[in-house]
Amino acid sequence: MRLSQAMGRRLIAAVPTLWLLLLFLIPFIIVFRISFSEVRLAIPPYTPLLGWHHGAPQIEVHWSAYSFLFTDPMYVSSYLYSLKVAAVSTLCCLLIGYPMAYAIARSGPATRPLLLMLIVLPFWTSFLLRVYAWIGLLKNNGVINNALLSLGVIDHPLALMQTDFAVYIGIVYSYLPFMILPLYANLEKHDLALLEAAADLGARPWRAFLSVTLPQSLPGIAAGSLLVFIPAVGEYVIPTLLGRPDQLMIGRVLSDEFFENRDWPVASAVAILILLLLIVPIMVFQRVERRQLEGLP
């Protein structure tokens, strides 16, 4: 019985681990490996890792995909643009989401579940359709322009679609719940006695907020910001539907390299470079998340 118990315990962890090895880790190793190949007209469309040279097996590593990415300024500018868009959107999410999370955390226990439900509900409806809704609002003869025109605020429609502004709106709109929920989870746990103590000691509300609430909520800010920033860097749908056609984000570049140009090594190299960029944020996120799950400070 002891033996079967140990076997059972091992099996519980082994099944999901094996699944993730096969469908998560190995796929990355394959992407890594293909990024060091050269494109060729064959099936599969890249050079094999193990080549034959004068009758002896030889590992062939090509840097051409990477050197290509650094010689064409389009790729570098897409990377920088994606970072900028993700950073600005994360900041906007934080500035909008923090007061909202704060208001929910300080509202009465009866209204809190209702408010949380209102925050989460859009998330359960289709992401794609919510982005699509903004096309109807932002386009030249869309709802916003029609309203402003009929109110006489503007004479001719504002160009809102296919701008950086439209992409920011789309990302902030789609990812706002991901910012609010971790912030709420953090703010809700705060000990209000500390604020009272600060007030008793003569601190004005703003000062009490800055020196008591804000520092305590840093883990929530970190979790929320990373949950927005990391996926936003690789965002594909929002910039494709709302963004500028002349400045692509890096997720779109990856997809185009793969589907339009059929250049698997370059698409893989783009993926590896995005990962290199995000590996630190991802590890920080996992650390914050693990502490949260395991109840550590």
């Binding site: 999901p16 469908l23 880790l25 289709s126 990856l254």
Partner: protein, 282 residues
């Protein structure tokens, strides 16, 4: 104290308006007669015209049916795998490979979707060459991909639920001589059942909604609903998509309302049981 309370409440109200105006505008314009979507045709509206167009659109219906089948499969498999992973991480203590599992299981949540999609497709292609399976991409590869990213969410939900309970109940059952499997089915599983249920719903929604990963691992003839919608809206606004959105919002709102009421009921029952137990102990 007062002014700040007011300020954050105004911010909350404005934020909620921001979250709901786009959804409401889709609902309103789904009843608009005009093909110009955002120009209200007062003479002939409201109309159910676009709902009629929608239910006669074979392409959308076929895609929706495929999406439902994939989402049910993916959610059910993800719940099994995610529960195993969640139990392992929350209850097995330090075991070999713990860090590996913990690291891999939350990564798909934040990983940009284009990377997950590309890597899964390249893996399927490599596997197909190596062992001859899968033969090309389609519903099966979509489901496998969805299971993988959905199980991450289930794991987090189950693990955080288990973290909220200490192990004393399970230990007590063990001390009384229950075998581990029995402990799991009689104690642990009922405790985490709400987490498993919400994990399944979350996984279903994520699978049903996914576009980017699906586009990579889908093959010819296996277009899911988001793929069909995306190819439609990429070239402009179409009124029947508004009708589709309205139907989805209604379904989701009803589902959430029902589950909220059910959870309230469960909560009350649990509180009553606890009170009874406390009274019996006196």
């Amino acid at each position: 104290m007062k002014p700040r309370g007011l300020l954050t409440r105004v911010a909350l109200t404005l934020g909620l308006v921001f979250l709901y105006v786009p959804i409401l505008s889709m609902i309103v314009f789904s009843f608009n007669n005009s093909r110009l979507v955002t120009v209200w045709d007062a003479a002939h509206s409201p109309t159910l015209k676009w709902y009629g167009v929608l239910v006669h659109n074979e392409q959308i219906l076929t895609a929706a049916w495929l999406s439902i089948r994939i989402a049910v499969t993916a959610a059910s498999a993800a719940v099994v795998l995610g529960t195993l992973a969640g139990v392992a991480l929350a209850r097995l203590g330090a075991f070999r490979g713990r860090l590996l599992l913990a690291g891999m299981v939350t990564a798909p949540i934040v990983m940009p979707e284009v990377i997950t999609g590309l890597s899964l497709l390249l893996m399927f292609v490599a596997l197909g060459q190596l062992i001859g399976w899968p033969k090309g991409t389609g519903a099966v590869t979509i489901a496998l991909a969805h299971i993988t990213f959905c199980m991450a969410y289930v794991t987090v939900v189950v693990q955080s639920r288990l973290a909220g309970f200490d192990e004393s109940l399970e230990e007590a059952a063990m001390d009384l001589g229950a075998r581990p499997l029995k402990v799991f089915f009689r104690i642990t599983l009922p405790l985490i059942l709400p987490a498993i249920a919400s994990g399944w719903l979350l996984a279903f929604t994520l699978s049903w909604d996914d576009l980017v990963i699906t586009q990579f691992v889908a093959g010819p003839g296996s277009s899911t609903l988001p793929m069909v919608v995306f190819s439609k809206v990429r070239f402009g606004v179409t009124p029947d998509v508004n009708a589709l959105a309205t139907i989805l919002v209604l379904l989701v709102a009803t589902g959430i309302a029902i589950s909220t009421v059910w959870m309230r009921y469960q909560q009350r029952r649990r509180e009553r049981d606890l009170q009874l137990a406390a009274a019996a102990n006196l």
